[in-house]
């Protein structure tokens, strides 16, 4: 069986400035992959090329064996990729309910189930997203991605700026999503401890290249020291 995500030698650039120089990454169906690296090393950019938000300038991206390199974002999303972007990017003038509705596609995840996962969102159904607190917006972004009923959920710093309890809540929610099976994950986060609990494999980027990959348990002090600065 072909892996769910297979990224091979992807390069990408913002205008004239190149950001990715050769990223390789493989995620098997049902797996959870931690994408790591210092600030500005290309984590978000890699995720953008995967989701079709930034067409790669070279290399290949495959989803469940189908080549999707350079396809428009909405096509890729419909193949089952749900994105929780860096910086939340909720639809500011829309209400919570409308934010969720805009993304909805048929499947097990619906308004009620998202509301059960994040009761706070259910309470604020009719509040516009721009007046939500940062944490509430983060929950909304995750809920919104779930509403597309993805097979792959891509979380780019999903716990940034969240209170510890909420962060724990979200990690618990992620763990639950994992346990229920069926959903594969790619995670970017700065908390190593939590990543270790959820992810099974890890990829480290430096200067737009894959510099290390393997089982997360194999990630030792030497690598974290060298590539992450801790």
């Amino acid at each position: 069986m072909s892996p769910l995500v297979q990224i091979e030698g992807v390069t990408a650039a913002y205008g004239a400035s190149q950001a990715l120089f050769g990223v390789d990454l493989t995620l098997k169906e049902g797996g959870a992959l931690a994408l790591m690296g210092r600030n500005g090393m290309g984590k978000s950019t890699t995720l953008k090329t995967l989701c079709g938000l930034l067409p790669p300038t070279g290399g290949r991206v495959r989803l469940a064996g189908v080549e999707i390199t350079g396809r428009p974002a909405h096509r890729i999303a419909r193949l089952g990729v749900g994105l929780v972007p860096e910086g939340r990017r909720c639809f500011a003038p829309l209400t919570v309910a409308e934010n969720l509705l805009a993304a909805a596609r048929p499947g097990p995840w619906d308004m009620a189930r998202v509301g059960a996962l994040f009761p706070r969102l259910a309470e604020r159904r009719d509040q516009v997203a721009r007046s939500l607190s940062g944490g509430e917006q983060q929950m909304l972004a995750i809920g919104r991605a779930l509403m597309t009923n993805p097979r792959l959920l891509v979380l780019d710093e999903a716990t940034e700026g969240l209170a510890p309890v909420v962060r724990q809540e979200i990690w618990a929610a992620i763990a639950r999503l994992r346990a229920e099976g069926g959903l594969s994950l790619i995670l970017v986060d700065k908390s190593l401890r939590e990543l270790r609990q959820v992810a099974d494999t890890a990829v480290i980027l430096a200067r737009g290249r894959t510099v290390w990959s393997g089982s997360i348990d194999a990630l030792g002090a030497e690598q974290t020291n060298r590539w992450l600065g801790v």
């Binding site: 210092r38 600030n39 940062g134 700026g161 209170a163 801790v230």
Partner: protein
């Protein structure tokens, strides 16, 4: 005990039915870092907005060095020595790093803005700006256009601009947000040194940083202060653990 620099007295703010600040009182004393923590949506940013003047409280007063500033607009507060950094960087992206800092130095002088004399030729302002950049470690990027900076560098520039103001106090909204582990450590070191210059009111979710830095911590939940005290007391406080830190908190 020295007189507080900043004092909030029963500040209250409502958004419709929601009470985002409920009679919040707190103060900031010389030389301290006072951390304001609380769950998402507790009303921290709302409180900061009332301190800096973006929002006006429905009731209660905000005073700076004994002077009531509740009704003052933001620029007037800035001129009184209130410096803030933003949760999401607010920088002139098209300007160079130096220009962003020099304008802060200009603001600090409180002088009327000249329309004629080129600002970059003003040696005194440049010196202040360059010193601030030096301190946050951006000196060699002074000529770079701000849009080209990495996220972490922009956070550093935010702090540098605040430094140029030579303020009476700092109000910082999540300065660690979006910084990597390394960056967080560097920022922690920077803030640690800063408190000698002016006290800091710090809003932050990074508990490692908060407990490493804060002299006092105030916990806000649902718009209300549920505890204020030294870090150790807060760490041990049951209510705080339930409402915010969680059982596995540091």
């Amino acid at each position: 005990m020295s007189a507080p620099i900043l004092a909030l007295d029963r500040v209250t703010k409502r958004f419709g039915a929601l009470e985002a600040s409920r009679a919040v009182s707190l103060d900031l004393r010389p030389g301290e870092i006072h951390a304001l923590i609380g769950p998402n949506g507790a009303g921290k940013s709302t409180l900061i907005a009332q301190i800096t003047g973006a929002l006006r409280p429905d009731a209660g007063t905000v005073s700076l060095e004994g002077r009531d500033i509740t009704g003052l607009p933001t620029p007037a507060r800035a001129r009184l020595g209130l410096a803030r950094t933003f949760q999401i960087s607010q920088l002139a992206m098209g300007h160079t790093v130096l220009e962003n800092a020099v304008l802060g130095a200009q603001g600090a002088t409180g002088a009327r803005l000249s329309l004629w004399r080129p600002i970059l030729k003003d040696a005194a302002l440049r010196a202040v700006a360059e010193a601030a950049l030096q301190r946050v470690g951006l000196a060699e990027h002074a000529g770079a256009v701000t849009a080209e900076l990495s996220h972490g560098q922009r956070r550093q520039l935010e702090v540098a601009v605040a430094l140029t103001l030579a303020p009476r106090l700092f109000v910082m909204d999540e300065p660690m947000a979006g910084l990597g582990l390394e960056g967080t450590a560097a920022m922690t070191g920077l803030l640690d040194g800063l408190r000698a210059e002016a006290p800091i009111l710090l809003v932050e979710h990074d508990m490692d940083a908060v407990f490493a830095l804060a002299d006092r911590i105030t916990v806000l939940v649902a718009g209300e202060v549920i505890a204020t005290g030294a870090p150790e007391e807060i760490r041990r406080n049951r209510d705080v653990r339930v409402a915010y830190l969680g059982e596995e908190g540091p």
